[in-house]
Subunit: 183 residues, 2 copies
DNA sequence: CAAAAATGTCACTATATTGAGACATTTGTT
DNA sequence: AACAAATGTCTCAATATAGTGACATTTTTG
């Protein structure tokens, strides 16, 4: 089935260029534009599928990250790795958060459930600050933005080909944990 | 003159959405689309003007950054601030680096001069690594990507309104210098 | 192999975007 | 006020993109 391939291509293309033509998406998926339209009614339909796919991927990754440990620091590390594994999906999803006005209503509840979950993942950040494990002069908003950009940096590094793939996660975690004041 | 205003708007709009219509640019600049076309022959012409504007701004900022000190660490800090001051211009410029294939040839020499200058700014990074001032396990490519994303994070923070503006540069420099292994 | 499902190709219409001409209106300068 | 420059409005034509129908071809499945 090419439906999944089209979604993946759309995520990749739209992440780089939100108003790119559907032709570009179809070409990237090695599929005719007509086939794309057989699976997706219109651009919005495809975009909704992308959003659903991205949320699904991200939530699944987060679940794994939290199962792996009960230590908040280890959990934070696993969250970062999960984001990097999600790759462009994570980047695109966070971008869309900031352009909600351009998007039609998502399937009811999905979006709320996502942001609710997302907020919960970050709820222990203040605790780490209170315990002086991380620098508590940094605001939660700044740390969240840092987290997002560290993942994007890792994705960039991977795509650029200039950084050895097997060192990227290690580098990202080192740089992130130090950027928020850890040892 | 509205020419400059159009360029600024184009940089802002195209940075967020590379394939946005010229109508959006004109609207953002509070100008009719007809006026936009009086100043710029076509989309590519406008984009070239954006690139020229961005390179000019960035180079000027870099020059100031380097004049302020001879201490490489202080210079690095000033470079970061310069990037943040350039804001979206810096972000958009670095994005375009990775899509050179989509761009027509720039005015001869300008692009080379820019990248040459850009590489020189980073030439002292290996020295800092050799002197163990920064973590020399990190590759230059990774550090460069980190630098870029730290600026983008600062821009995001400013635009989000969730981080106090007067703490952003401070936060960015703290997080960046630690992310590359400084104290 | 044969039927069914998926995809490709071609044709077509509709809408959006782009670029430019003609002329009116506003703005700034002397 | 008078003039020039800049900009806006309306119009039009060319191109690009979007979406659909009909039918051929390929792929999958039993």
């Amino acid at each position: 089935m090419s439906k999944q391939k089209i979604i993946e291509s759309a995520i990749f293309i739209f992440n780089a260029d939100f108003s790119a033509s559907l032709d570009k998406v179809a070409t990237h998926a090695s599929v005719s534009r007509r086939t794309l339209h057989r699976h997706f009614k219109d651009r919005q339909d495809l975009l909704d599928a992308c959003i659903f796919e991205m949320m699904k991927t991200w939530q699944a990754a987060m679940l794994v990250a939290f199962k792996n440990s009960t230590d908040p620091i280890k959990q934070l590390e696993e969250m970062l790795y999960a984001g990097i594994d999600c790759g462009v999906k994570y980047a695109f999803l966070t971008k869309l958060q900031n352009r909600a006005e351009e998007l039609s209503a998502l399937p009811t509840g999905d979006s709320e459930a996502y942001t609710k979950a997302r907020d919960r993942w970050f709820s222990f950040i203040p605790d780490l600050g209170a315990k002086k494990i991380i620098n508590n002069n940094l605001s939660i908003a700044w740390i969240r933005i840092l987290f997002t950009h560290m993942i994007m940096a890792a994705v960039d590094a991977l795509q650029s080909g200039d950084v050895a793939p097997n060192t990227i996660k290690e580098n990202a975690w080192y740089s992130f944990r130090r950027s928020i004041g850890m040892d």
